[in-house]
Symmetry: C2
Subunit: 340 residues, 2 copies
Amino acid sequence: MTQEAAQPPRPAVTRKDVARYAGVSTAVVSYVVNAGPKRVAPATEARVLEAIRLLDYRPNAAARALKMGTSEMLGLIVPENSNPYFAQLAHAVEEAADRRGYVLLLANSDGTLTKERRHLRNLAARRVDGVLLASVVFDPDLSDLGSADIPAVLLNQWRPAAGISTVGVDLRAGGRIAVEHLVRHGHRNIGLVMGTTVANEEDPREKGWLDALGAAGLQEGPLLHVPFAREGGYAAGKRLVAGAQRPTAVFVSSDIQAVGVMRALHEAGVRVPEDLALVSFDGSPDAEYTWPALTSVQLPLAAMAAAAVDALVGADRAQPPRHHEFPVELIVRRSCGCGG
Amino acid sequence: MTQEAAQPPRPAVTRKDVARYAGVSTAVVSYVVNAGPKRVAPATEARVLEAIRLLDYRPNAAARALKMGTSEMLGLIVPENSNPYFAQLAHAVEEAADRRGYVLLLANSDGTLTKERRHLRNLAARRVDGVLLASVVFDPDLSDLGSADIPAVLLNQWRPAAGISTVGVDLRAGGRIAVEHLVRHGHRNIGLVMGTTVANEEDPREKGWLDALGAAGLQEGPLLHVPFAREGGYAAGKRLVAGAQRPTAVFVSSDIQAVGVMRALHEAGVRVPEDLALVSFDGSPDAEYTWPALTSVQLPLAAMAAAAVDALVGADRAQPPRHHEFPVELIVRRSCGCGG
DNA sequence: TTGAAAGCGCTAACAA
DNA sequence: TTGTTAGCGCTTTCAA
């Protein structure tokens, strides 16, 4: 506000300016900036460093990217970063990428295939060095990346996919251990609140639920399909409460949905876990702070993110694509009937 | 798994290939790709388009960035994207950026100044076209951006800052209306659970609390400073419960902390709102799904994000920096004592 | 140990 | 309406 005139946009200082100032060639500046590929005499190096400092020189990443054919950027596409699960995942990925010197381009598909494809194209055009994709479908079209020779890894996958690395957990086993725990609490009527996907593919957690039920010789409890969102869980909870033969326990396919279910239960005066026990899936921090706290199947997100990034730009890069499966762990809290 | 040999990394197709294929010059390809700056005969254009399609040509963004001196990227630095508030903010920013054709580089400072500065440097080197910063301090050092001529806007600011655009709400007014509401419910002993910042700056919400108390002729209730996190709120809640003269109402500086406070209250058997009324701040989706639902001061995040992006790359770009202040709105739910 | 120079893919001024 | 070409800032080969 004090100065009236906009300062003239002085041209950025380039490696050439530094070279001139230090009295060396531009090549030498490169050598010291990149610590190679040639050695530089200590005295010369000192001069260059000093020039860099004085001129406040900053290498132009775009020029480097053009020359090298690599951008030091990774793209991440998630359905919705404000879903706590994906928020946590994004954080883990950002951290893993950062550790390797990569920066993260974040894009939301908002659960639509259209946006997902648009972002895929966009990332391809920007020549990111790899893409991490939590797709809305099981078998996304990656041709845009392929024709640009950009490696990708599918997040949130529960089984191998052809020609591409995948990272995920054994959802079926996860569902099974959740329901087994409920069985062990003595429940005989165990329902399932399951998320829906765009392509309407089957979710292995449903199989896991069936597995545990079958093993215990139990009949199938009510099965509700609702979106992966608080609202979805809330709707499911209301239907559960209103239903004729209400189950005594329910397995919910995500923490966020469980939060919605609980709200409906609270509103209806149904006590958790006394009247209705709950186990959910994700193990997000939120689960610890609901009332009562949610028993949940936890995913090792940090490890998964690190594996995904490594598959793209780590030592594994050269390896043929493979499926990385991670173990899940049941975090026992109050909603299942355990504890005080 | 089926093919043994890695396919030879065929060189990417460039504008030159397209030109050759279409039998035109590279300039013409540019003209059609960018729809200008020169006109191209319809027939020629069709040939070029066809060539682009056939060769699956994708312009190299790095080359364009180098030539144009603009990257079509915006950087966003937040303390922690998995905090629901920042997750939502990030989503809003991504959307606003996307609408203008910009892609978003996301970075977490994890609440530390060190990381914040590192990311600032990094973004500067990458020549992003603008930076949105939710800093951990009031007066961040933006010199790295300045020397690269990169505009920035400060998110989460409650007052103008010198030489830079800021976006935020009137925190003091927000705190005031929250507490006034509690006063209207008849409370005489109203506490405050306030977040802490790195630099230990005063938070206007505290002033707002004082304002409302003063206007009602009330004494200050207990004041607790804890981190902006569930855990912080939880700790505060426990102290509140254990304290000698427990307040009958508390204003909490963020939803996430309020979630922690509620957990402590539930554990202690203190009923909300009967024994202790709560009003918090942020108006995040989480607030609607706590039990009871949180009355909260809501921020218009989408509008704020759009304003921030506009200040960077919209029509406002040329304008001198200014403070963009947005209105807050008290969303009344159950935790304050309202409703059924 | 240092330097000269080619060239990454693109844009746009200038020429035709 | 189309083509030629310089040059954005960088890396690195090759020569000195």
